[in-house]
Symmetry: D2
Subunit: 465 residues, 4 copies
Amino acid sequence: MQIKTAEARSVIDRTLGNLVWGWKKLSMITDDKILILRPDLPKADIKPLYRQMQKCVDARGGEVSARTHAAVLGQAYLDLNDQGRHQFMRLIVDRFGTDEAALRESMTAYLEQGDRRDQRMLDRVRELLTPPWTTLFTQFNALPSGVKFLVDMRSDLIRFSREDGELEVLDRDLQRLLVSWFDIGFLDLRRITWDEPASLLEKLIAYEAVHEVQSWEDLKHRLNTDRCCYAFFHPRMPDEPLIFVQVALVNGISESIQDLLDDKAPVEDPHTVDTAVFYSITNAQHGLRGISLGDFLIKRVANDLERQYPNLKNYVTLSPAPGFRDFIECGLDLDELPPLSPSEKSEVETLLETRVVEQQEILETSKTVKPLLMRLCAHYLASGGNGTGPADPVANFHLSNGARIEQINWLGDQSIRGMNRSFGLMVNYRYRLSDIEKNHEAYALDGRITCSSRVKSLLRMNGQS
Amino acid sequence: MQIKTAEARSVIDRTLGNLVWGWKKLSMITDDKILILRPDLPKADIKPLYRQMQKCVDARGGEVSARTHAAVLGQAYLDLNDQGRHQFMRLIVDRFGTDEAALRESMTAYLEQGDRRDQRMLDRVRELLTPPWTTLFTQFNALPSGVKFLVDMRSDLIRFSREDGELEVLDRDLQRLLVSWFDIGFLDLRRITWDEPASLLEKLIAYEAVHEVQSWEDLKHRLNTDRCCYAFFHPRMPDEPLIFVQVALVNGISESIQDLLDDKAPVEDPHTVDTAVFYSITNAQHGLRGISLGDFLIKRVANDLERQYPNLKNYVTLSPAPGFRDFIECGLDLDELPPLSPSEKSEVETLLETRVVEQQEILETSKTVKPLLMRLCAHYLASGGNGTGPADPVANFHLSNGARIEQINWLGDQSIRGMNRSFGLMVNYRYRLSDIEKNHEAYALDGRITCSSRVKSLLRMNGQS
Amino acid sequence: MQIKTAEARSVIDRTLGNLVWGWKKLSMITDDKILILRPDLPKADIKPLYRQMQKCVDARGGEVSARTHAAVLGQAYLDLNDQGRHQFMRLIVDRFGTDEAALRESMTAYLEQGDRRDQRMLDRVRELLTPPWTTLFTQFNALPSGVKFLVDMRSDLIRFSREDGELEVLDRDLQRLLVSWFDIGFLDLRRITWDEPASLLEKLIAYEAVHEVQSWEDLKHRLNTDRCCYAFFHPRMPDEPLIFVQVALVNGISESIQDLLDDKAPVEDPHTVDTAVFYSITNAQHGLRGISLGDFLIKRVANDLERQYPNLKNYVTLSPAPGFRDFIECGLDLDELPPLSPSEKSEVETLLETRVVEQQEILETSKTVKPLLMRLCAHYLASGGNGTGPADPVANFHLSNGARIEQINWLGDQSIRGMNRSFGLMVNYRYRLSDIEKNHEAYALDGRITCSSRVKSLLRMNGQS
Amino acid sequence: MQIKTAEARSVIDRTLGNLVWGWKKLSMITDDKILILRPDLPKADIKPLYRQMQKCVDARGGEVSARTHAAVLGQAYLDLNDQGRHQFMRLIVDRFGTDEAALRESMTAYLEQGDRRDQRMLDRVRELLTPPWTTLFTQFNALPSGVKFLVDMRSDLIRFSREDGELEVLDRDLQRLLVSWFDIGFLDLRRITWDEPASLLEKLIAYEAVHEVQSWEDLKHRLNTDRCCYAFFHPRMPDEPLIFVQVALVNGISESIQDLLDDKAPVEDPHTVDTAVFYSITNAQHGLRGISLGDFLIKRVANDLERQYPNLKNYVTLSPAPGFRDFIECGLDLDELPPLSPSEKSEVETLLETRVVEQQEILETSKTVKPLLMRLCAHYLASGGNGTGPADPVANFHLSNGARIEQINWLGDQSIRGMNRSFGLMVNYRYRLSDIEKNHEAYALDGRITCSSRVKSLLRMNGQS
């Protein structure tokens, strides 16, 4: 999800001249208007870059000109390599951050004034808390594809922050800006069909993170009449899905992802089936990390499906349990698993030592392994009763959305990955309209997890074994 | 620009159910979900309203539900009358503002920590500076037409603030939100032609503030091939112009607004003329007060015209000088006018005492009045050399955009209003690409005003008289 | 509906160069490519015009070039005045008609060949029956706005044919072409709302033939939520309605057009009312005379309304009876009216002699005039039992569509025009789904007219008086 | 290109009810409205089918009802298998053809009337020459996707006609109808990019007839910035390309199709190159056989490219010579080749006897084979001087469009197919604006073929060998 320099540049080059009045001509008059930097941004190039940034922050020549200066800056950024971009960010964080002295002064002044609320003084504090770099970020918004530029820039920033902790403060600020701009109220929910542009569909193929799309034919199958795909879009990034979900319309709650993805299976009439299975949710933009849209997506899609297909009765997911194997492995080491009989313990140990390709046989033949793993998985998902929620991130996501744990599926995902992560187990979470708020409150306030009776009996089995 | 209750409600009623999952059904289950308030919001209704607001702010039932609760709140707001709405705002400002004790505490903690930058502490201050009401405002964004709802709500707020100063802090906060959401990077510039929907065009007729549109025929004339109109739109308010400008494409700089608006005048070929005259700019949304888009509009339109009609050489305005009469009247009282000969003084006094309908004759016959008023007007516009800028708001707007004062036009606006405000004088401001930044800087930093040589000689004449 | 030369030319001039490859450049090379004719087409200009036509008909330079030559021809046509255009048509009819000798020969050959069907021979006859001018007409289709050009050309042709009978054969041929191109399968039905382009809506105002649109406000009223307007469009004339109908959604069958058009009347909720009243149908293109779209329009609109507003039960018209006064006047002269008592006869005579402005009083005060006129009107509409159908063209139209005569309304149209044509009487025809085919067959095959029982009793009253 | 029954039916089933008023309901009342036929249309089903056809032709129940009856008929057709459809056509041709007796009578009447032109009599002949089945065909146009239905029906008809000559007359009539409806004036030229719907692009992959599209990646390469694809569309078949052309924008005239299709080749900047190579034209609809759109397509595309890329100087094709091998083989047998020396004759014979996989070696190593085949190919393409044109259909197509033979390319197509058809030779035809009309006339009227001097010298070489 890095910015692809060549492509992005060509868009910018083509439209920059038209972006703000006279940029092209200005650049003919005063030739310092174009900023030519070496890709890795050596020291000698820092100074002209700094001057250009300063010009933006000061809005020299007026607001309209400042946007043009920012466009030049953005264009320069696209030509940098990773090292250069990192330096670019360091320059911002070092030179255009909060004026701390002034900030402290303003706070002191506010604190000293006694009880009287003086809003002007607070406004001053607030203003100083918005560092000059926020101005810079905002000005990039007027670039052609400016919103996408910022999202991609944040994607860079997240990468750099991993090694350079001082950039985190910049990242948090950019995130705050994007949270405001990607408010759910601005987004479009769109159903993606086979009639969408190939240039959009190839992005789905590239981005799909949960169950890889194998080919265009596979994609076509996933957009068939008994399948559907929905995505959120931002009006300024109309060709870029932000997050998308894939749904299968079937009879009965699906228990196996391989069955769902089998393009030989007969096509159902979506107007007669009773169940919508959400089998994949993908965040498509790294640069939007921490901006949560999944809850909205699931519920709006459910709402849309409900109106289109009034026969639907069940809204469930078919989800992985990505940390289940780790849970067992660590639990065994730390002796934190639910009580196991010696034979159970040994069975688990054997399993952990077996290579994935051979596990399958054990799973299919052993009579004892299924109840054992099912029970452990129930614990894994549902016993985070200490208020911190379950270890499983997927469980945590759906539970805080107000879903309940409906069912654990034996051999639900027989892919290598599925085996590796959770011995092939998959989970259905269920969204039931009338319970969502109640479940959410129970989970959010008290850490209580709602389960179906089937899962509850798995949990109860525990003591007996 | 008030929210028209009936219309807005019907839109909301129709779409609310689809807005977020299951609202309609939820409301069937738990009947406290619909908030029924009396129009003037008597005391007894405050409590349920407060509870609903609290539910939103706490995001009870999850984020998605919170948006539904906010929609119910928004719906209730639309049914209130002015008194009720004012109470609604008071409730917000009284109960959902900044937690000052916590804020002070967080600041003190930050100040005490010594030199070490601790961003988490700053984040805490920043968070406390964003009062709960901001959450409320943001949640309204998910209403159908939510952006328009907020803009109109701010329009209400501005009205109420005039009498109730405590609402100002709320207004400033809402303005900050709108500044971010109406960033120029999000707006669409669109040329408005006679092919636009009648439902949009009737808004132009209603909103046009500078030179009233007389009829649909008048509007058609203003959208003819040698005229044009451009507006900015927000992607979430596609049917509502935010600000629009009207331009005439003519030969030579226009000196009279009546000539421009005369629909009997022959139509020019826009591809051969040399001058674009911006003769009217209207801010269409009261709720966007203080969010300045005019500078961007003028320059982007100029850019667009330049590409379409390469023969254009001059970009000028034909603008009123709305405070000129007041300037003379007060100046005379306070003896602050430029030096006048006794006869001049008497001429001015006569003029001020004459009724508008009789002024015209003086203006057309007296040989001395023209040079006198032209000279005074030059002073009015260009002599704000004390750094505060000229008294005239229109001059101030164009000068800070980087334009220069090009020409003062005798009998440029012979309407009653034009006579009343400025004895019929009108002004051309000129936007010259190569000078814009220089002019802006001179004006912004040093208060220096740029004039054409013609206006300069008017200013020089002063000493001689 | 004449071709507006200036407008049409400018469109053509602008796009002609792009129409077919290289026209612009060709014209620079061989200067005979542009045809300059004097507006009234004097004799001297006939020859070059003839040569150009011949070039088209022969498709000289290939099919693509021929279309360019035809475009030049079309452009020339637009610059002619009525006299010139008439000559243009005469030239076509005189020189590019059927080759009769060859035709006769081909028929003779066919007839002589005995019983054996030889399709090639028939094809030859068919080919000769398609005169060269058909080639010309078809080639005009590649003009920008070519379809509209032909429709407008036919409008000219219809006018000229009134005085010049020899053009009729040309008109019949052009009509045949347009019948094929305006087949209902190609047309789009579109609901026209207040959100349509002003440039389209002003055409509704201009074209509306039945009840004149008074102003933009009147139009807005007619497009309100309890009113609707539908039109057919051709994909190649997307800005030109072909035929449009106006419908009011009301409770109960409307009896007065003035009540319907009253913009002070309260707006109904279209989802609760029971009756759709078709109160105006207008053929918007003179050049499509004889191509009947009205029947399709009414039934498709009814179908569309039915799906949108499931509460609708009645589909009726509110129609004029345009020939009623003439029917009485002539009937009296020729003694062909149904039997009248002497007092009735005298009342009718008085009425005929009274000026319209004074008729109203008689109609409102006399007790005998109402039953009399109602009875006569029932006869006027329903007694064309001799198989030729009623004299009234409106009745004939609706009856052949399968509607029945539902009701005659006293003082249904109190406008001057309504008084003049039918003493203010209006008629409801009713479209009842289950009877349409039956009614149509009865009327089409046997000339039987279907009436409601109320109208039937009016007819029966006859003998008694 | 057969009608895919299942898909087509579902579209029809879904929309038929809405097609014309009340069909759905009518069918509930009178149950004979739905026509259920067995797939192979046994004799017993002929009678109800005939009755339904008769109902359409007679327009029983009115025009609107007739369209509904036709829709029922169309729906029934889609459910038939090939045998059934053939019977369906036979029924039409046997029972709804020309009334020959009446036709003869009308002709006789016309011939006997002497010299006086009586248009009414001719109209009568013309009417009788339009058999009732034309009514049927036209009525199918109101089916949802009616135009596509007819095009596909003609595709069936063409297949059946091969074995059943009596259907030809029906086919000719349907062709006449389609010629009128697919007049170039109605078609849209659209550039196809990677942003088009996947559902459209997969049709390009399926239809491409000249150089098979290997994969979605291959297609993406063919839609890259230095490639382009254009197609004609009918407004009533917006998802179906009628004919499409693929163009490469390159420097210099391309000599090898494998080089052009190589997706490893560097991408050119289309704004700087000098040559547009039309390397593939595909007629996408079998049912439009005999309706020639290729000439228009090439010239309009050239026109469009010229405006977009003003640097283009050459417009050429890279075309196969599909009949070249046959020409040599037959020519050798019949001794009709240009004079060959004995060694040449033997070389040719060897070549003809060699398997394709081994030919390549001969072609690449023999020094004599290249001049020999090039010379023969020049004769093959350019020596059809007897006025019948060259044997090569591709040459004939481009020559009648006004192109000239520019160049013959050695090893231009090394695919099996290319080897098989023409020993790997390919041909460039050149479209030069200023010569098109002249070339066309020379070829159309006198059979003169225009060649470049290089091709001319190949022809001259002949005598010397």
